[in-house]
Subunit: 377 residues, 4 copies
């Protein structure tokens, strides 16, 4: 018998609810993330389960379905997406497609009355993101932007520490999210599919998390980018981009993102009475939060958990209880508007002033905060 | 679309083989480890899948089966264990029961011709462990001791660094594995069920890993323990135990284990040209290996992986290819003999000299090393 | 007898040369840095020694002199600075005064034919810095800007790793240097004395080290700052400032500095084949350099050393051997010009384009690199 | 002007008292420790200063004296040690000689009425250590054992955390102190000079610090060692040694020491409510203390300080105020007795039971605790 796990585990056995009481998801798009993270999370979640897969290649779909314990009948091709309308056991779809395809599938899902969990960025263009929000509203279905970082205990502990004044008044923030895209043949590097370069895919983590942690919206932005002229990977999108944000009260944040630099995921918050460091800040597991203040640096420990499970379970609970998700489509739209401003600053070389937005957590559902995992081990 | 994972992931999609080509496991015992780690691992493994569950309570069994996507018919109670003999899709059983029950179920599984993966320690008594090995041999089935630490890339990288002389000649080792058992009502604290205290359950990691890393068998052992007289948890077994091992060539190791001390899992190897530190060394995820030598301390990085998946996949491959597992029953028996000597030293207060065993990796199947995950990210 | 130190120590005993062969320094200004760091460094250096002190208060000067093993006659007040002209044992002066006083004392020292080691920033205004360079040149004495970060083994190891391509092509950099100035009554917060806020005093480390590590000069700069209206500390200078630099080849750096945020000193370099992290990056001892690449993160270890000793010894050797110091006055002037551009960007809200400068290490004496401490322990 | 140091520095300037009010030390023995650590500490201490040096070679003595700002007249050879009796400015001698010479010089110093700070171990034999204590007592001078680890803020913070129950009840401890002695030609490897191998020189840190942190005396000891037969370095003393200590209440500690293994200095304390880790634990600077408990691991930060300065200043204050030092000779004698028992266990292969000693901090001067540096930065 092995030793018990580090964590004081969730209590009851069996942990998950019976499948028939859980929310069935159809996952649309069978890339690496789906097979490595989402399907495992759905198969071990509390409130959700994998009910169907949708892909371009029926053979691949059936193979994945089979591997996941489903039947051939649970695999669909994109053209047959609407067949899910007859599947009452599929209450939600999870869109894991190239950005430019999000809108079409979200709208089709909404028309079928299916709730939608959509990967970030919400779309390849702001107007598409806005249309998705409108379509879901019109159809009376929930739309959640898959910002997993707004569901992890580490980021929530940092947000709470800031809100409770543990760092004193926040003054400066910085963040970096970089990685190397090794080859040119990915949709991420095609402007039409992605809508932009590293900003859209990795920089958005910096942007979204800076907004989440401060709870505020920036008042201005400045940005610069590098797009090499001799690298076949970067004929359509930038290689690296750096942006600076001005938040209310003179708080300044700076961020770096890249598809051409060594993997780094980091976020630092500096207050006049302490500091918080998340490093790594955005990876799928092993996030580390250090809170610094008088007397020392504390690495805050949490029990093991699965980031994707927290996400799919939150949305499943929203569906069952009729709640708006903590990160609704509007949260994703706001990032799109800010990314537009960032690219505008790159183009113009000028600081771009944004519409003034007072208040905190303006685009989040503060009445429906995600379930919290407490520090401990 | 989220950013790709840190790791250069295993290549093909779908990752797992089709279920019909994988090895079906029946898991016997539905405790926390099973629900939190083994079933998830079996559901996302490459070469194995969960085919049945066996437990004391049919309702719980059916609930777990259902939660795992199986049917009521896949749940069995202990008395009906032999019904698995008709299940040709169940090729292996994974025994996750209190130590004293291992022997009975291993022998019954062997009689059905099922291969057996058995949790550590192999039994509650050495003679039971020996009997299990004999029974499986007689029945022509494979028996693997579930020493997950002998399947992780971090421990293999440490073992290789030692074998290749990266640390110079090894001189000293130390290890600790401690945790707090909060309440008295666990079978681990009942001598009849467990066969012993923390040594049997957590100290065995120190012992086994010291043997694995050096590849050698100790020549003598000295040990001391503490068993409080006023703590209801420790009426039958020790609270804490410390042992010292003498390895060939004058290499000395010392180890600490406890059910009454803060969670610690650590192992250090000191050579005359460098050092290796595993800390944490034995937890389920997030192991860290630091190799030190001229010029600095290198934290070796590996792609994400699931420790239990590596274990169940190794045994599945052994079954399909007709190989002896890397950690056969004999490896488990040897730990039992050494734990007997440790307890004998505690009782006598004397150093206990062990039978001399020359050679390296005497109880492991060196011809069938586990598949290796290479450093990288 | 204690155990020998970690480091393989410098060989001969006694380590320092006989005092009469070393270079005598007069230290001008007896603040905290002088008493805590410079005098100890001078007293244990290899090639230098403390010969005199100059201050505003003769009693304090005599007390410091006495405590340092000098006599009352070795203490001078500022007005008597020129009495050092008769002290042939004083070959160098180390200026540790408020920024706006640097120029006067440097020019007076030059007129006496004394070589000058001057704290950073070189002055409170660019034109003063330029005048100081001219005055020393005219007088035939050496002027060294006290950029200790250009003399430490950690920063040199990072610079070498970059130059040798260990990180691949550098893409992005970030740095932060922040601290809390607790009270308003320091000359650092008086514009006339300091010439500016945290940029001049702590942000200059980011700026100078980014230039040092890349070896390049920025082509443009953008900056923003925060100066609260209700904080008595910041009536004259900014509280926090963030700047972005565009280096040749599209390399972008961002930096944060503050007098109102928790102590942080950090610098990160991201290449397409690896990364370097210095954290802490700018403190007086315990700098940590981590180089990341395939296979892991290596914390590079160095023997113990004294940063200030490296500085005063380098300059002492320059004086004895007739060499230009590695960081001559011109290096300090260039930072002044860049800080002017940063403040101009703050004022205008616009990106400021800088004169194009090709080549590497343009303001450093590449023929006279500081003595190198090799990794080891 | 450089940025202020991390620490909130000791307040007044000049930090040290005037030299005539400080305690003058004669340092006896001019090895590496003296030149690299003790003389710098004495030259920058608060209450002490270097007044004279004593060595075997008058030229070396004069060179060291000169380098330290003393005159030729301040250098003495061992035979002229008694000339210090006329030096009223020399109130203390610091003995930094091979262990077997300690007794002679301590007794000679006592006869001159000089107070003695003596390096650890106090002697090469227990009876010499006892004689030293008696001689100083008879002469009415203070004798302090130079256990610098009992004067650092990190170790005191750990001791306090234990005493205040921050870790709960202490259950287990482990420690390691190892290093490679590269060549055979050091007195440390000569039994006559040293009295023993790594136990006497580095293992004593483990022993002494385990006693200091728990405040208790062990009840039994078991030990084993390795002395290779083919290594010219270890013809007289052991290469590696491991010992286990039984403390009152069933607390067990294990320790490793070596002259043949990679530099490691570590100490871990495991309680039922938390843990303390010192790593590095025994080096001259950069000690790190991590306290673990519910919610996380806290790295406790302290302002910069000089370990040797704390030691020499403590003893200087004892002399001036007429106090017994916190670590009097008796503390050193107790370690000798325990090391005798450890070697006896090695020889006999048996556990050695020690005289029962009740109470806490039996050999320390609890009424004269060293001045405390508080956590902070």
């Amino acid at each position: 018998m092995p030793n018990p796990p580090l964590s004081s585990a969730p209590p009851s056995v069996p942990n998950p609810e019976p499948q028939r009481e859980r929310v069935g998801y159809a996952v649309v798009g069978l890339g690496e993330l789906t097979s490595e993270a989402l399907i495992p999370a759905l198969r071990t979640s509390q409130h959700a389960y994998l009910a169907a897969v949708v892909t371009s290649d029926i053979d691949k779909g059936r193979a994945v379905a089979g591997a996941a314990g489903l039947t051939d009948a649970d695999a669909y091709v994109y053209d047959d997406f609407e067949q899910l309308s007859t599947r009452s056991d599929v209450q939600a779809v999870y869109i894991v497609l190239p950005n430019n395809l999000h809108r079409d599938f979200v709208e089709r899902a909404a028309r079928m009355g299916k709730h939608v969990l959509c990967e970030k960025p919400l779309a390849s263009k702001t107007q598409d993101a806005e249309a998705m929000v409108a379509a879901c509203k019109a159809a009376g279905v929930r739309l959640m932007a898959a910002y997993r970082i707004q569901y992890t205990p580490e980021h929530w502990a940092a947000k709470r520490a800031i809100a409770e004044g543990k760092l004193g008044a926040v003054k400066l923030l910085s963040s970096a999210h970089t990685q190397v895209e090794p080859t040119a043949d990915t949709w991420r590097l095609k402007l039409k599919h992605s809508g932009g370069g590293p900003l859209m895919d990795v920089g958005i983590y910096c942007l979204n998390t800076l907004r989440f942690l401060t709870g505020r919206e920036p008042e201005w932005v400045f940005a610069a980018q590098h797009q090499p002229t001799d690298d076949p990977r970067f004929t359509e999108v930038e290689e690296s981009l750096s942006f600076m944000l001005g938040f209310p009260g003179g708080v300044i944040a700076s961020a770096l993102c890249s598809y051409g630099a060594d993997k780094t995921t980091s976020l630092r918050v500096l207050g006049d009475g302490g500091a918080a460091l998340l490093d790594p800040a955005f990876v799928y597991s092993g996030l580390k939060l250090t809170l610094s203040g008088e007397g020392g640096d504390t690495l805050v420990r949490f029990p093991n958990y699965d980031q994707f499970q927290l996400e799919v379970d939150h949305f499943a609970q929203c569906i069952r209880l009729g709640h708006e998700p903590y990160t609704p489509g509007e949260e994703g739209v706001q990032d799109h508007r800010l990314m537009d401003a960032i690219y505008e600053s790159v183009r113009s070389g000028l600081r771009v002033v944004l519409p003034k937005l007072s208040g905190t957590d303006l685009f989040r559902t503060v009445s429906n905060q995600p379930a919290q995992i407490q520090p401990g081990r």
